[in-house]
């Protein structure tokens, strides 16, 4: 037997009360030794088991013995009564000093409110799992990444290869945006949905209220036979009165018959909201031979379900390998490898980092509140020395005196937390109302049990934290000596602590200010961006020409021609036209590649945005014609094309682009269906996808050569475009009442829509920084004015010795600027880290923008100066005689 074992056992015995240990300790150790020896003869396992038993025995029995010990100071119940007494005493103390209590409640309520609101957002956006079975196995597959970090769309041909070569997935499904006109009871409505491959519902593990999902072979059923459609539960209830008889019946969508084969279960959602709304139907995706072979024809989203047990990292490695194989096999069309994202990450996007950043910022505000409360409590501790000393002298234990302080601060914090919950409710309402709507689940943000529990826990922790430092001060101070009186200079050490609180507050406030400055500057830059078109004098709507009247291209052309003519007849409308994809309109499903001849005669390929337009489109949006001409009805424009600045520069550099020829397709691949087109005009480039991304090369075909079913109609106006909405709607109704007018709104709404998020971010940051600055100013003022009060005697001596008022003032300012400088230094480092994290949210300003940092620091220094001004002036007015008598 190892002799150390008995030593260890004896140490364990300290868990017992001393009296018990003295009486039985030796015997117990002997008994233990006997038993251990006996256990060791039975092998290692028995020995280990014996130790486990011994540990359990000692801890359980020691606890029981201590509980039963009649000599311990207080029974549990009595102790609870003491705590309750202390709580009542704390309430009385706060009622006596309503100023402190209310200030503390307000300061903590702000910080706790911000934190609660942001926690609610983080919880719903980041912590709530997606409503699919095993959502962590759902992934999105993309071809490369766009500059803004989102994934690039895929081609069907690539998907075919991925399916053949990959091992990591149960299945890969593809889908694309779709919309159709639903005419019912004389009311035309555009509904949004998705074209899906047969694997789609299986990948998502969808359930159906009635019927089934889209299955293999559905895409081959003709419209005459009733091609299948699955309706969302919401559409089915809203437009079809939740009638189960609808199943297996045909409905009319546009001009086509579709047979309803299934209704999704109420909880099912499409994995991606289109245009801020959930998908309302799903139809099979027809696959053409061209889709199977054209690797560069990218417009599809691909979603997959990982096989059980396959980690995402393995899928990533595998798909990257396949992506590189494709890049070697099809160098013209495949320039980027395959990216695999978790579906959850894609849906949340960069909301995650932003939500966490703001949660961090709001915790800075909470810390500022805490610093101020600590500060106020320290001041109280100095003032209440006598009270504590008396209580101590009357027999209160150290623990009780200190616990009283902690109970007081916790009480304040919990009340602050409750008020903060109310504030958080208002903030969440503002977030839900103001925040960009395309962030998944944000509108579902609410205060629930979890959020309330978080707030209560955070408030309690905050209260304990606030009370800790002051309580420790009191515990350390020899209370007995304080009975003799309160000397003014006694609090000098406390003052030093508080001076450093000033530095801490500045260090906390500076990142808030810098972050706000950078976001605000980005917003200004975004608002001033040259979009390449004028969004303020145009109104737009989307229309899908389908139905028996538009069976031919000629009918489509005639419709848009007549529509433009009638729109131009409206007073206030200067021009009218149509485009397949409006800049910033969120619809960019028309991309492709074109072939052009380089100066040396060789062919090259360029990826471009492809638009189909009528001639009236360009003037309606105020897009300038740089060279050449636009399409016209008079000329024969069948084989002509208009390109934008960016495309001209990329293809022809400084050379004159007019008269040059381009064709759709891939360099070196002959395509009889794509004839050479002559460039007849160059227009200005516009920012098509995002306000923050520079213009891309674009080409514009005349609508006559490329008739699209769905077009965005734009009318240029000379006044406020919003006022023309009724007239535009009437015109459309007169022309064809069965066509739905979708999203009729001024073009500027899209521009403003894109600024929603940066605006919201800047406003939220400004609110946080404003509150933070006020809290910091309050803290600085409170500390410095007390500091001056405590130094009244010293100031009196200095003045008696001949110092001037100006010198006293200068001295105080100089001394108070030390913590300011230290705070700015530390805060500057914090701000630099925060600014780097803001990264992708910044536009037109660097994360280390010196002007922003300088402005933020200046704001803080001026605030500190203002805070020190009043106390300094008071000090300068000190009467030396009175000051010396003060003690």
């Amino acid at each position: 037997m190892d002799p150390r074992a008995v030593g260890l056992y004896r140490r364990l015995l300290r868990l017992f009360p001393a009296a018990f240990r003295h009486r039985f300790g030796d015997d117990m150790a002997d008994l233990f030794a006997d038993r251990l020896r006996e256990a060791e003869t039975r092998g290692r396992l028995a020995t280990a088991g014996f130790w486990a038993w011994t540990l359990a025995d000692v801890s359980a029995q020691a606890w029981l013995e201590r509980r039963a010990d009649p000599h311990r100071p207080l029974s549990r119940r009595l102790r609870m009564r003491h705590v309750w007494d202390d709580v009542l005493a704390a309430v009385r103390a706060h009622v006596r000093r309503p100023g402190f209590a209310s200030a503390a409640v307000v300061m903590l309520a702000l910080g706790l409110g911000f934190n609660t609101a942001l926690f609610a957002v983080v919880k719903i956006v980041l912590l709530t799992p997606l409503p699919f079975p095993n959502p962590d196995r759902l992934v999105m597959l993309w071809t490369g990444r766009n500059p803004d970090g989102t994934g690039g769309v895929n081609s069907y041909a690539d998907l075919v290869t991925w399916r053949e070569r990959s091992q990591s997935f149960d299945a890969l499904a593809t889908y694309n945006i779709s919309f159709m006109t639903l005419v019912r009871d004389g009311d035309a409505e555009e509904i949004h949905g998705s074209v899906v491959s047969p694997e789609f519902f299986r990948v998502l593990g969808a359930r159906f209220a009635y019927g089934r999902g889209i299955e293999a072979g559905d895409e081959n059923i003709t419209f005459e036979q009733g091609r299948p459609i699955v309706l969302s539960y919401a559409l089915w209830t809203r437009r079809f009165n939740a009638d189960p008889a609808l199943l297996n019946h045909t409905i009319m969508l546009g001009a086509r018959l579709r047979r309803v084969v299934g209704i999704t279960s109420p909880g099912f959602i499409h994995p991606e909201p289109f245009w801020d709304a959930d998908a309302q139907y799903w139809v099979p995706m027809p696959v053409t031979d061209q889709m199977r072979t054209a690797h560069g024809n990218r417009y599809l989203r691909v979603i997959g379900r990982l096989k059980a047990g396959v980690p995402i990292a393995r899928a990533r490695t595998e798909m990257d390998g396949i992506g590189h194989q494709l890049m070697t096999e099809h160098p013209d069309s495949n320039r980027a490898s395959v990216v695999v994202d978790r579906l959850q990450d894609d849906l949340v996007g960069d909301t995650k980092s932003i939500a966490l950043l703001f949660l961090g910022a709001s915790s800075l505000v909470l810390c500022l509140g805490i610093a101020n409360i600590v500060n106020l409590l320290l001041a109280q501790v100095s003032r209440r020395r006598a009270e504590f000393a008396i209580r101590s002298a009357l027999g209160a234990s150290h623990l009780r005196v200190t616990s009283q302080i902690v109970i007081e601060s916790t009480l304040v914090a919990i009340v602050g937390g409750l008020v903060g919950l109310g504030l958080a409710r208002l903030m969440i309402q503002a977030i839900v109302a103001e925040a960009p709507s395309n962030i998944l689940g944000l509108t579902r943000t609410a205060i629930d049990g979890g959020v309330i529990a978080f707030t209560i826990a955070l408030s309690t922790a905050t209260g304990l934290l606030c009370g800790m430092l002051p309580a420790w001060r009191v515990a350390r101070a020899r209370l007995g000596t304080s009975l003799g009186g309160t000397r003014m200079s006694a609090g000098l050490e406390v003052s030093r602590t508080r001076t450093w609180l000033v530095a801490a507050e500045l260090a906390l406030a500076l990142p808030l200010l810098v972050g706000t400055g950078l976001l605000a500057e980005s917003l200004v830059h975004l608002q001033r961006v040259d979009l390449g078109f004028d969004p303020s004098h145009a109104i737009q709507f989307r229309v899908t020409v389908d139905g028996d009247r538009y069976a031919t291209s000629e009918a489509d052309i005639a419709f848009f021609d007549e529509l433009a003519r009638r729109l131009r007849a409206i007073p206030g409308v200067t021009s009218a036209g149509a485009v397949s994809s409006l800049p910033l309109g969120g619809l960019n499903n028309t991309g492709g590649s074109i072939v052009y001849r380089q100066p040396d005669g060789s062919e090259a390929t360029l990826s471009v945005g492809m638009r189909s337009t009528t001639a009236g489109y360009f003037p309606s949006l105020g897009i300038p014609v740089r060279r050449g001409r636009l399409f016209s009805m008079a000329a024969d424009d069948t084989n002509t094309i208009v390109i934008n600045d960016a495309a001209a520069a990329r293809m022809f550099g400084e050379l004159d682009p007019l008269g040059r020829q381009i064709r759709f397709g891939q360099a070196g691949v002959a395509d009889k269906k794509s004839p050479w087109l002559t460039v007849i005009g160059v227009v200005g480039s516009d920012r098509h996808e995002r306000v923050s991304t520079p213009p891309n090369p674009e080409v514009f075909q005349p609508y006559q050569s490329n008739t699209w079913g769905t077009m965005t109609v734009v009318a240029g106006t000379d006044g406020d475009p919003a006022t023309l909405a009724p007239a535009v709607r009437r015109t459309m109704h007169d022309l064809d009442p069965r066509l739905a007018v979708v999203n009729l709104a001024p073009v500027s709404t899209f521009f403003e829509g894109q600024l929603e998020r940066p605006k919201f971010g800047a406003e939220a940051a400004a609110l946080l920084a404003g509150v933070g600055l006020v809290l910091a100013a309050f803290g600085i003022f409170a500390v410095l004015s007390l500091l001056v009060t405590q130094r009244t005697r010293e100031i009196g001596i200095r003045m008696a010795l001949g110092s001037t008022r100006a010198r006293i003032g200068a001295l105080l300012v100089r001394e108070s600027m030390w913590p300011v400088a230290a705070g700015c230094l530390v805060g500057g480092l914090g701000a630099a880290a925060l600014a780097r994290a803001l990264g992708s949210e910044l536009f037109g300003v660097t994360a280390t923008d010196p002007m922003t940092f300088a402005a933020a620091i200046a704001t803080l220094v001026v605030t500190a100066m203002l805070a020190v001004w009043r106390p300094a002036r008071r000090a300068m007015g000190v009467n030396p005689i009175a000051a010396l008598r003060a003690e």
Partner: protein
């Protein structure tokens, strides 16, 4: 002789306490001997670790059921360092009362045919 009510107030005895009393009824013993005896009689179904044992001993000493013994058994069996315990008359009465109580419980159970009468 302690009044009956005083003994009744100690009932029911904890199983450990009853086992210790039974063990000491046969003679004075020290802690280790008590545990060995109990384990032997209960076929190791009752394990008594030191903490448990000495806490029980302490309570029983406080209640006057046992006392420390100054007498030592035969020298060859003696272990100088150890404290010996012996049962007090009060302890005997308490053990008898507890056993009577248990008997009543068993009789009751038999009457209700919960267990087979032998």
């Amino acid at each position: 002789m302690p009044p009956r009510a005083e003994i009744e107030a100690l009932l029911p005895l904890k199983p450990v306490a009853l086992q210790i009393l039974l063990s000491l009824a046969e003679g004075e013993r020290h802690g280790y001997a008590i545990t060995m005896d109990i384990q032997g009689r209960t076929s190791a179904r009752m394990r008594i670790e030191p903490g448990n044992l000495y806490r029980a001993l302490k309570t029983m000493l406080d209640d006057g059921l046992i006392e420390e013994s100054e007498r030592r058994p035969a020298p060859d069996l003696d272990d100088e360092r150890r404290r010996y315990y012996r049962i007090t008359p009060r302890g005997r009465r308490a053990a008898a009362a507890e056993i009577a109580r248990l008997e009543a419980v068993v009789a009751e159970a038999k009457a209700r045919k919960w267990i087979r009468a032998r």
